[in-house]
């Protein structure tokens, strides 16, 4: 197991760190609480010691760090706690490391080890396994889902006053397969925009989330991703569009081809890219006056720093709102909200999440914005809780919701 985790990236990150400590402030945990244990290098050292103790690596001459008890952080329990509960794999420390040590890769391998040892948070395992079961027995869920979609169609026809509105499911010959999240909030606004833009689309029976990724469990991740890949193959779509979810986009767009060792037989895009395209080529016409309040955008780490979608959400927002304000720092230097990589799903870490979200709360407050747009469900949950915890006085919404407000039917 350990040997399998020791990829070239992980091996380099294990042996390449010079412990300069320059990464400290790049971590939102450290920015909120400047303590030794919150330094990315400290966490990296814990993983290093674990590998060294377990015999996975040739030992250096001097392995001992000061101020850590032998066996403390090297134990599986504390390694799991650190990997899942003290790092959101946001990669901000990697971008800021002068040497390029990918501490997130180390923490991901620690998650893999912890998951294999049965030490991962139970809720993440349950969510991943539920997604796999759903894929294996879709017939049990299909009718229930289709009934709910019919109801949503009716409600939305009334809402937008358009009897021609529809949410197609399982439509062969569709160009685009849209994969939302588990929740109507992630399906209705994009469906309205697809309708306005005259897209030839169909809705996936599955949700985009892939909790196997959070677990660092490539077998579970592959099974979850395969549900969507097989569905897209069967329908013969040209592209799969992932709804507003950071890790789901990064997983299918960037990681899945590595697991399957080949490019997927269709294009994968985020809803954000599609909207930016349509706005730029005039397929979607917006009235920014419909969103007069000051709006700021939170760069999800998975969509932005890890996914490359830095400019697209800004293209959308500049067209959709009257007063767009940036947070600083932003884009690839943006702070994690503190809820990433499964943290938002683990209730017992709520207090820790609020603490880790302090840098983001400060950033939001400094913009003076009334609305924070986040194109990731985990971020939205976390930002909503930060809003209450720090009394930010904001509304948190998704990008598609803001665009629906401003969209004019062609």
């Amino acid at each position: 197991m350990l040997d399998r985790q020791l990829t070239r990236e992980v091996a380099a990150a294990l042996d390449g760190c010079v412990r300069c400590g320059l990464c400290a402030e790049s971590c939102h945990y450290y920015a909120a609480q400047p303590q030794l244990q919150n330094m990315p290098v400290y966490r990296g050292e814990a993983v290093r010691r674990f590998f060294h103790k377990a015999g996975g690596r040739a030992r250096g001459l001097f392995q001992w760090p000061v101020k850590t008890k032998p066996g403390d952080t090297a134990s599986l329990d504390s390694l799991a706690e650190m990997a899942f509960g003290k790092c959101t794999l946001c990669r901000r420390c990697t971008v800021n490391c002068p040497v390029g040590v990918d501490t997130a890769a180390l923490m991901r391998s620690a998650r893999s080890i912890a998951t294999a040892a049965g030490k991962a948070p139970e809720i993440l395992v349950q969510l991943a396994d539920a997604a796999i079961s759903r894929g294996e027995s879709m017939d049990l869920f299909r009718d229930m889902l289709l009934d709910r979609i019919k109801e949503l169609e009716e409600e939305t026809r009334t809402r937008i006053n358009d009897p021609t509105f529809s949410i197609p499911v399982g439509k062969k010959g569709a160009e685009m397969l849209f994969v939302g999240l588990s929740g109507e909030h992630s399906i209705v606004p994009p469906a309205i925009l697809f309708h306005y833009a005259g897209a030839n689309w169909t809705l996936s029976l599955f949700e985009a989330s892939n909790y196997g990724t959070f677990l660092g469990d490539s077998e579970r991740s592959k099974k979850i991703a395969l549900r969507i890949i097989n569905e897209a193959r069967e329908l013969g779509v040209k592209e799969v569009v992932i709804g507003e979810c950071g890790h789901a986009y990064t997983t299918l767009r960037w990681e899945a081809p590595k697991w399957f060792k080949e490019a997927l037989p269709f294009r994968v895009r985020s809803l954000i890219e599609v909207l930016a395209d349509w706005i730029q080529n005039g397929r979607l016409v917006l009235n920014p006056g419909a969103n007069p309040d000051p709006v700021t955008y939170h760069d999800s780490c998975n969509l932005g720093r890890n996914g490359g979608l830095l400019e697209e959400p800004r293209i959308v927002l500049r067209a959709a709102v009257k007063d767009f304000r940036e947070m600083y720092p932003n884009k690839e230097e943006s702070y994690c909200c503190g809820g990433g990589s499964g943290m938002a799903a683990v209730q017992e870490w709520q207090e820790r999440r609020m603490q880790a979200g302090l840098p983001k709360a400060r950033q939001i407050r400094a913009t003076g914005a009334k609305i924070v747009v986040a194109s990731c469900d985990n971020c939205r949950i976390q930002l909503g809780e930060l809003n209450e915890h720090y009394n930010l006085g904001i509304a948190v919404t998704g990008l598609a919701d803001i665009v629906v407000n401003a969209a004019l039917k062609n």
Binding site: V18, C20, E25, G100, K261, A263, G308, Y328, P359
Partner: protein, 214 residues
């Protein structure tokens, strides 16, 4: 036996180079997942960026927040390269001329001071002390010693044997020390740069790290 220091140095150099070769072999024998996903940018430009513009202090929040530490590191490494050049010139009995000798000795003195500063800064800061190993003090100390000896040798204050002795100790220690990051640095920065380029992070105007509000 006049050549004894040189022989010891050459043996030590061979040990160092063998150590580096072993590290490179070990690294490249590990599995590496190629990325077959369609690119949104350019892997090569990403790598180029990582080794050029991406290294500039104002391009990194970490460097701009710790300017002194970052600049110290740059001078330290410049000093090391000057020391390596001085060592090669000495081994091959090449006279670099007065100007080159003066430049090398100045760079080596600065590098040595930067190495000593590294030790002091590490010892003075509680969190840095907390993440440090003995090697974090020994490595810069040995390098500082090597640079001092080199500078003194170039200035004709000490005999070549002292310079070679310091270089030999450093070479023998190198494969087991953090100095080996010289191997991993190129892979790690190249890998991250290629990933950033591949995923299109360089396509957009870069994020603003200047106006810190957090």
């Amino acid at each position: 036996m006049a050549n004894l220091p040189l022989i010891i140095l050459l043996v030590s150099l061979a040990v160092a180079l063998t150590g580096v070769a072993v590290w490179i072999y070990q690294l490249f024998s590990r599995p590496y997942a190629c990325d077959p996903s369609p690119s949104r940018g350019s892997d090569r430009l990403g790598m180029l960026y990582a080794f050029t513009i991406g290294m500039l202090p104002w391009k990194k929040e970490s460097a701009s927040l710790h300017k002194i530490v970052y600049i110290r590191g740059i001078f330290f490494h410049i000093g090391i390269f000057a020391g390596m050049l001085a060592l090669m010139l000495s081994i091959f009995s090449i006279s670099g001329g007065t100007v080159l000798s003066l430049v090398l000795s100045i760079l080596m003195w600065i590098g040595a001071l930067a190495g000593i500063a590294a030790i002091i800064l590490r010892a003075a800061e509680a969190n840095l002390r907390g993440i440090s190993r003995a090697d974090d003090y020994i490595s810069p100390a040995l390098i500082a010693l090597f640079l001092c000896m080199g500078a003194l040798h170039i200035m004709n204050i000490i005999d070549t044997a002292y310079f070679y002795a310091a270089a030999s100790v450093l070479c023998l220690y190198l494969p087991w020390s953090k100095v080996r990051h010289c191997v991993f640095f190129f892979f790690m920065r190249g890998h991250i740069g290629a990933m950033m380029g591949h995923r299109g992070l360089l396509n957009a105007p870069h994020g603003h790290a200047g106006k810190e509000t957090a």
